[in-house]
């Protein structure tokens, strides 16, 4: 197991209460695996990433039963230890809108070189060799290292950021919405390069996005996040073909596909809950068309309904009925 997260909680203090941005998340990522985390805005994925990367402000309270990387517990490490040993060397990040993460006044190659030299004592020639190799690895010509960010297209900048994340050969790369905002042909190219990279580097990827088709295409294992909790978690094919959770069912039906031109698109009415209010029971209950009174009493357990397939719901016994009804528009309209 490369990374094991058990019951991770990140709570922010604000003036009138506590925001439970991440509230009991358990995820396991194996070596050489792509774990896709699907979630819409406000589900807590940014906070989750920041918690793992130690980028949360001091007002946040973080605790977990386990937050392990290669068997080592990360939480007790001091910030300095984390920065020296883990950050970028073992766990790296391709942030959202990576295009905007590049400093416009420095050449791209130099920024890459800086990232390398901060962590590894290579001389100039070695660093240059490494940056060229990294560029080639993402399908960019080595000469382009001399360019400035504004001379790159959006897709090229994204690939440069991926190159930067690979600089120190990490074991885990976290990618936050890597293809959002990019055109479909550029997106296809980047994901193709990513697959090629995985062949060579054996790094695991923690891919976070709201784009279900990207998740479907890239992930070995998928987690569905909502309001700070994981609603369903399983291997890719299993999650799509044997879906249990109402939210996942809703998402599947909300996503258009050009191969299913006749399928009716269904949206889930309502909006994500206010995370500063204490919510007894299931966080999805008030939007769920299949919710009963008991759903709001107690927090549902993460049931292992099948081997390695976890569902955060107490009504898994009715799943056949749910799967049928979820495909009908009227099911979702009456829930609000």
């Amino acid at each position: 197991m490369l990374m094991k997260i058990e019951n991770l909680k990140t709570h922010y203090r604000i003036t009138d209460g506590i925001v439970k941005a991440v509230d009991g998340v358990s995820i396991s990522i194996k070596e050489d695996e792509v774990f896709g985390l699907a979630g819409e805005s406000g589900c807590g994925k940014s906070t989750l990433i920041r918690t793992i990367m130690r980028l949360v402000p001091d007002t946040a309270k973080v605790n977990a039963d386990q937050l392990q990387y290669r068997g080592e517990d990360l939480l007790p490490l001091s910030d300095k230890e984390y920065r020296d040993r883990i950050l970028w060397k073992e766990i790296s990040l391709v942030p959202q809108s990576a295009m905007n993460s590049l400093n416009p006044v420095y050449r791209v190659g130099n920024q890459l070189a800086e990232a390398i030299q901060t962590h590894e004592p290579l001389n100039k020639a070695e660093t240059r060799e490494r940056t060229h190799q990294l560029f080639k690895g993402v399908g960019l010509q080595p000469e382009l290292t001399r360019n400035y960010p504004h001379e790159f297209s959006g897709g090229m900048r994204q690939r440069a950021m991926i190159a930067m994340s690979l600089a120190l050969d990490p074991g885990l790369i976290i990618m936050d919405e890597p293809t959002t905002g990019l055109d479909v042909l550029v997106q296809e190219r980047i994901l193709r390069e990513l697959r090629a990279i995985r062949q060579k580097s054996k790094a695991s990827i923690f891919l976070i996005t709201h784009d279900i088709s990207v998740i479907a295409e890239m992930s070995d294992r998928i987690g569905i996040m909502y309001a700070g909790r994981i609603m369903e978690q399983a291997d890719s094919m299993e999650l799509f073909n044997d879906t249990y959770h109402p939210y996942t069912l809703g998402l599947k039906n909300a996503f258009p596909s050009i191969q299913a031109l006749d399928r009716e698109l269904i949206s889930i009415p309502g909006s994500p809950p206010n995370l500063s209010k204490d919510i007894p029971g299931c966080v999805f209950a008030f939007r769920c068309p299949f919710a009963i009174r008991e759903c709001s009493y107690e927090r549902p357990p993460d049931l292992e309904i099948k081997p390695n397939h976890f569902v955060h719901c107490i009504r898994t016994d009715k799943v056949d009925e749910f799967r049928e009804r979820a495909g009908e528009k009227k099911t979702w309209q009456s829930s609000k």
């Binding site: 819409e40 042909l185 784009d211 479907a216 050009i258 031109l261 698109l265 889930i268 009415p269």
Partner: protein
Amino acid sequence: MAILEVEDLKQYFYINPGLLAKMVSGKKPSVIKAVDGLTFSLEPGEIMGVAGESGCGKSTACLAISKLREPTDGTIRFRGKNISEMSKKETMEYRSKVQLIFQDPFESLNPRFNVFDTVVEPLRALDIGNREERRERVINTLSIVGLKPHAYLDRYPHQMSGGERQRVGIASALVLEPELVIADEPVSMLDVSIRAGILDLIRDLSERMNFTCIWVSHDLSILSNVSEKLMIMYLGRTMELAPTREVITDPLHPYAKALISAVAIPDPAYKRPIPDIRGEVSQPIDPPPGCRFQTRCKKVMNICEREDPPLIEAKPGHFVSCHLYKPGMEATN
């Protein structure tokens, strides 16, 4: 009669080289041909999707059609009248008939205006109706877009979700009861689970309120679901224009083929084929003569580098701009 006719629309932007460049190398001003010969027509009540990658000119074309920017060349006719020849009064009338829905629900609302202000503003600006009439229209429009008026009238943008804000934006466009609505990526910044609601809303309203719609998006999956006709643009030109189903199932233009084959499917078993295309998206700066797609087309021929392919009807109702095709016949390949 067609409600909108666009003929050979051109929007060029000129960049002046620096003084030094001019003196040293005699460099002439560069021209960005954002829209370069766009031609199409719309029948009343149609929903036409416009697809294309960034830089294809679709948003620029919207600005020209909604008269927010003067085109460099070409004609745009609304119900037969050339919009560049409109007087100030006629332009104001045009505004009440042709409206825009914007992409960003967070940016398209004035943060200082509450919902009532935002939705009533078009009526105030164009001096339509009196106090009571305006209030009534606002309340009606809010109900139509699915927002309970009395709950929302006093709210400010920061007190609403993305989906709610977008509905307010739609309401402020529809309060004028326009005849043509241009929607520029209206759902791309919304959460997936609420997109369908807005898609349905716009589609239903176009029937109920009887307006024609141009829906611009880079997401073919969304367009395939909502539009009847689909136009694919590349670097400022129409590449293909046909009923949506036909474009998706049987694309003719090499670009359309590549684009459609590259669309991701939410199915883990699906393997995306490598699109039959080369190179990167080029910028519409100082384009070479001939077909815009020549630098990326795998089927490029000599003629493509010399002559612009005209928009021809390769199959009934199915238009394509490519030298591989002749009117009425399909290419043999």
